[in-house]
Each structure stands twice: as structure tokens, then as C-alpha cells.
Symmetry: C2
């Protein structure tokens, strides 16, 4: 049997998931022990239909641009194969004489990979399954952080700082802005929006986290209080947050959609909170919801993140060739003053379906901002220093005053 | 009387309005005929209260970073002074011995500047009023384009291309994306989203314009038709668009807010259209609404736009010193193969309260995309070539198929 390798991408896309793929391709190409290098189109969902491409046949021009291309070049999926579908997937893999199965994804993908590996083993098919971490949500356990997170954090840090300058300038007309960011269960992205803040005047002024409840009355008090101090307010809220009764904060508490994994999607909390601010505080408010733009921006990607994503791809191939099946590559932060990060391994089963929330020490007591410990943890992940913007000294010319 | 100069910023902020301010400051500082250089805080609204800063007293560090700082460093306003307020503003100007009044803004600001100039003249106060163009909406007449537009167009071109890669990769789960962009009356920004598209697979696939009605049934047919062809769809809609009955396309046809100029604001058309796509086409859809982020991004700003904004600032001071009152600086595209742009002048009265819509030849017959003439007009405005992203050849490996 040939030692063929297949790689797939799964779950929500990121700016750096193709850098991981590029790492896989570069390492696999350099390994004499690897014959065919294949790609699943749209992950295991495409594999079920035999949607496989030959990655050795792609043009040099395409391959050279892969690392700096956001999104998943192979296509992605959100698909949980059942037992029967897993068996059909294994048939396709056998037909292609695949020995190394690399799957780039988050918790759900780790679960799928783990089940495929177990079923292969049970049927005596020598398949080495290795997971490669990917999620902007930064919520995988056993890894210091997740490839994809640093880039969205950089995007949100810069964008929030910039949106704050807009709100500051428009304070006499539009004094309140709410920025809705991704993150349904964990507040890592919401927290990342603070990474550009240098002084009190800078945005954001308030951050709310899925790990804490948002009480609308408390939120309005917080907004009023910042407004009284600064004359304008930028608040960051996650795409899903519940109130103390456990109800989703939105115009309607009913989900608008439930996906194949049972994840429920709700109407925008920001749209609702803007209404409440206008109606109850009588302050004009607006919201920005960058949506998928936040996870796709290559100009705002973190070079550190791109480099680590690539590193994970290369490490995955090395581990697979060593026969270390059933594991996910992790990022391991080295001790010392200067930030350095290497890779390690964690069992796929332990990663699957588990979520790493923000630790309590990263959220302040009031539950409306991050702590300095979070900044210490996250600053190295967003790469190069952020732009420094000008702010005028606002000392009034006395003779101008009536 | 001293020959003092005052400058203010007004209306919605842009990524380059501070570049115009930097141009004013550089030219004013270089002119021996200018004594004091003052800034209005929050435009004429702040001026009413004597909120004026001495711009010669700002630090060299702040001034050096001004050109690359988005938003309005002096603060902005949306404020239409009445007759009495105009007189009070003139008193403040007299007290400061202002001879040159430079106001950076759009149509409404041109109107305010023009009225102030006329009132000053009537009372024998020698005040030279010059308008400097600024609006992301690109809807000022007499100028080839408006400083601010090229940068948002660049932002939307890159972001839409990237969001398209996301939708393409997620097609088996999330095949429809709607991107809601700014622009209530004119479709220049919606059109700008097309500037990154190189092939049919690239986003956007559909664009709608405030200049045309959006018929929801036709929109759904368009979405279905692109979906049938490509398997995914990215549509760009402006923040306000009406149906053939003249009703705003939104969950509710009632405005959520009406501003000081009588501009009405409505609920998100994208949120509503997403619901319709899901309910009536049974396709999962989501929307991105970058909001103020689109007009604030310095990393995605157009160098051409920044340069032209700066040029307008310098030209404004030169015209003011020549006593050319009651005029707005315009951008004039030079004839020839290579794009070059200089400045001209247009009467403020003619600019005030007038809107330049997209000409019919820039919108296709179906009203759902731009024409090549638009690309020819707009491509030079967005600066450096856009990133080229990789797309794999999707030829299937035959032996993988069941």
C-alpha cells in the first residue's frame, strides 16, 4: 500500500487556516515517505461523495499564494457524520490508499477525526489520524491558544480603536456605539477588542462576555456612567449573551436557526441594545457587526498567528509520519521574558466537544471589562505593534469663549 | 486685524479627513500671511460655544501622526445653525480675528459655509470662506470624486472579496451572504464592493443601488439564480433601499431615528433580506454590516485617496489667501492614459444640498450589478493593486469517487 496523505479543513474559516494547509503541503512534499497528497473538498462532507483533489497537481502560482489567502481553500463544512457515513468515508480513504489523515478544525472536527481513527483501528485499517487546531474562538483545551485567534484579535483591536475615534468625533450626534463580535460561548474575541486601548479615552470602554450574564439595566447604567465621564461610549458585546434568567439578549429569545450540530443562532444582541439605549437613555446609538469580515482579513492578520498556523501544519505531518495517531497538535508557550511558541500534542478525545472559557482572572469583578492578566496573555498573539493614532490636546482658546 | 485662519471638520468621519486637515496645517504654516491657526472642536456646533483650540500649540508628535489617523481629530458635528446661531458664530470668529474660514465636509457643510460667508459679507466682515470636500458617499457635484470615497471603496473591495472566499468555503452550510454597506441615497459604495472581483466565482455576485428599487421577489430570484450557477451567493445592499412602492426594505417601513437635518434612519435591510432568503428559498443566509468600521480603516485606506485629501487641504489655504471666498475645492481628473488628479473650484452654493447619484451607465440594465464603465472610473481611486488570493483547481480525483 502507498503511503498517501489527505488533508481537510472544517468548521468556520479563518485568515490563517490556509497557512496551516501550506505547512502540511510543504512538509508532506519534503517527506520522501509520503506518496500522494490529496485534499478533501468541503471536509468529510465532501469526502463522503469522493470530492477529492490532487494537491500535487495544483499550480506553483496557486501554492505560492496559499499562505496569504484567507478562508479555506479546500472548502469547509459543518457536518457530523453518523456511524454509517463514517464507514463510507473510510471506504473512500481505503480506495485512495490513505495512510495519513490530517484534519484542520475545532472541537467538532476533533470529535469526527477521533471517531474515524477508532473505526479504522477496529477494522484493522492502518490509518494515522492527526488533528490540527483552528478556531478564531480560541476555546480549544490543552493548547495555549488557537491558530486563527491572534488574527481576529488584531482585527478587532484595530477596528475597535478606529471605531472609537469615529464615536469620539461624532459624540455630539452619535455618542454610543455597540460593536458585536463573534463568540457564542467564550469571550476571547470580545476581550481581544481591548488590545489596542492605551488610555481611558480609547475604545472600548465596556466589554461583555458570554461567560457572564448581561443584565440590561446594569448595561444601561454602565453606558450612562461612561457617557457621563467621557461624553461618548463604545461597548463590545458577543454575538450571544444571556441575561440572569438565562434568556438570550435579543429582540426575541427564540433562535432564528439551529445548525447541524445543534448550535442555536439568535438575532443580534447589538441591534436590541441600541434600541434600549435610544429608548431608555435617550442617547443616539448605532452598531457595527463585522460578521465574517473579522475572521477573513488578510491585511489585518497577525504575522505571529500566520507563522504558528504554518508551524502546526508542518508539525502535524511530522507526527503523522511517526505514527502518533489520535492526537491534535497544540501550541505550547515557552517560559521566559520573550514570547516564543512551540508545538505539542494532546489526545483528540480530550479535545473533542470540550470548550475552554475565559478564566475568571481575565474578567474584572463587574464583568464589564478585561483585566491586565488578559493583556499579558494575549498581546504577543496579535503580532506587530498596532498603529498609534493622534489625539489633539483639547485645551480651549480662552478668547474664543462667549 | 490679524489674518487668522480657522479650520473645522463636519459630517460623517472618514479615514482621510485628517489628511485634509494636515494639508491645511502644512500650507497655513508655510504661509507668512497667516498668523493664528485655530481649530473648531466639533465643527460649527462647537464654535457656537467658543470651543476652539490653538493648532500651532499642538505637539510635533501629534501633528506628525495626524495624516495617518482616521476619523476627525477636531471632532465633527451634524448641525445646521439657524440665522441667530450663524450670527453668534460670526461673533466668535470676529472675536478671534479670523479672516480665513476653512470647513471640511459634504453638502450640508457647504450650505452652512455658504450662509456664513453671505452673512459676513452683508455685515461688512471681511471673511474668506472655503469649503474642502469630504464624503465617503462620493455624492458631491462638480468634483470628479470625493476624498474619503477611495478608501471606503478599497475597504469594501477587499472585504467583499474576502467575505466571498468565506462564503465559497462554507457553501455547504452557509451559502448566502448579504453585506450591508453605507449609502442612503447614492450607490457609489455598494458599487465599490465590486472593485476586487476578477472572475465569476469572486464576490460580489449581486449589487443593489439606492438609485433603483429593490423588489424582494426579484431579489430572491437573483439569489436563487446565482446559487444554482455557483452554489453560493454574495449580495451587496445599501443601508437604505426602497421597493417599487417606495417603501423602505426592512422589517418595518418606519424610521428608527430622524436626525437634525431630517435624514431618516431605518432598520437593517440585510437583516430582513436574510430572513426572506431563509424562509422563502430555504437557504441558510447571514449578513455582515461593517458599519462605521468601513469608513475608519487606516490599514485599508487608499494611498491615492490620502494624497488627494491632503492636496485639497493645501489647495484650500492657497485659494483662501487669494480671497476666493464662497467656493469649494474640487478634484479634477486630468485627461490621458495615466490617472492624474489636480484641484479646481466650484461655488459653495451650487454644491450645497445637491447630490450626485450614480449615472445610469454605471448600473446594468437589470439593476443588480455595475458596468465596466464604473470600474474604469473607480479603479484608480483605490490605490495600490489589491491582494491576489489563491483558488484551487477543483478537478476531482476519479478513483476517490464511489
Amino acid at each position: 500500500m502507498s503511503a498517501n496523505l489527505i488533508v481537510g479543513q472544517s468548521g468556520g474559516c479563518t485568515a490563517v487556516i490556509n497557512a496551516t494547509l501550506a505547512g502540511v503541503l510543504d512538509q508532506a512534499t519534503a517527506e520522501p515517505g509520503v506518496n500522494g497528497i490529496y485534499g478533501m473538498l468541503n471536509g468529510v462532507q465532501g469526502l463522503l461523495d469522493g470530492d477529492v483533489v490532487d494537491l500535487r497537481a495544483q499550480s506553483a502560482d496557486t501554492l505560492s499564494r496559499l499562505r496569504a489567502t484567507p478562508s479555506a481553500a479546500l472548502g469547509s463544512c459543518r457536518f457530523k457524520p453518523d456511524e454509517d457515513q463514517c464507514q463510507r468515508i473510510l471506504e473512500v480513504l481505503r480506495r485512495l490508499e490513505i495512510r495519513y489523515f490530517l484534519y484542520i478544525g475545532g472541537n467538532d472536527s476533533a470529535d469526527t477525526s477521533s471517531r474515524l481513527g477508532r473505526l479504522a483501528q477496529e477494522s484493522g485499517y492502518e490509518l494515522c489520524v492527526v488533528g490540527l487546531p483552528k478556531t478564531i474562538d480560541n476555546d480549544l483545551p490543552f493548547t495555549d491558544h488557537c491558530p486563527g485567534y491572534g488574527s481576529v484579535a488584531r482585527y478587532l483591536a484595530i477596528s475597535t480603536l478606529e471605531a472609537g475615534l469615529d464615536t469620539e468625533a461624532m459624540r455630539r450626534f452619535d455618542p454610543v456605539k455597540i460593536i458585536e463580535v463573534m463568540g457564542r460561548d467564550a469571550g476571547w474575541l470580545a476581550a481581544g477588542a481591548a488590545l489596542g486601548k492605551r488610555e481611558d479615552a480609547d475604545a472600548p470602554h465596556l466589554i461583555y462576555f458570554p461567560e457572564r450574564h448581561l443584565e440590561v439595566d446594569r448595561f444601561l447604567d454602565d453606558v450612562q456612567s461612561v457617557y457621563d465621564r467621557l461624553g461618548y461610549v463604545v461597548a463590545v458585546v458577543p454575538e450571544r449573551i444571556t441575561d440572569p434568567r438565562g434568556q438570550v439578549v435579543a429582540r426575541s429569545a427564540e433562535p432564528t436557526f439551529v445548525d447541524a450540530f445543534g448550535h442555536a443562532y439568535f438575532d443580534s444582541p447589538a441591534a436590541y441594545l441600541v434600541q434600549e439605549v435610544q429608548a431608555r437613555l435617550n442617547l443616539r446609538a448605532r452598531f457595527d457587526k463585522p460578521g465574517t469580515l473579522q475572521r477573513m482579513s488578510m491585511p489585518l492578520a497577525s504575522e505571529a498567528d500566520l507563522g504558528e498556523a504554518y508551524l502546526c501544519g508542518r508539525a502535524g505531518v511530522t507526527h503523522a509520519l511517526r505514527g502518533e495517531s489520535g492526537a491534535m497538535v497544540t501550541l505550547v508557550r515557552e517560559a521566559g521574558e520573550t514570547y516564543r511558541c512551540g508545538t505539542g500534542l494532546a489526545p483528540l478525545d480530550d479535545v473533542a466537544n470540550s470548550v475552554k472559557l475565559m478564566p475568571p482572572e481575565f474578567i474584572n469583578d463587574q464583568g464589564n471589562f478585561i483585566t491586565p492578566s488578559f493583556l499579558e496573555y494575549a498581546r504577543p498573539l496579535i503580532g506587530a505593534p498596532l498603529p498609534r493614532y493622534a489625539r489633539f490636546e483639547r485645551k480651549r482658546v480662552v478668547s474664543a469663549q462667549p
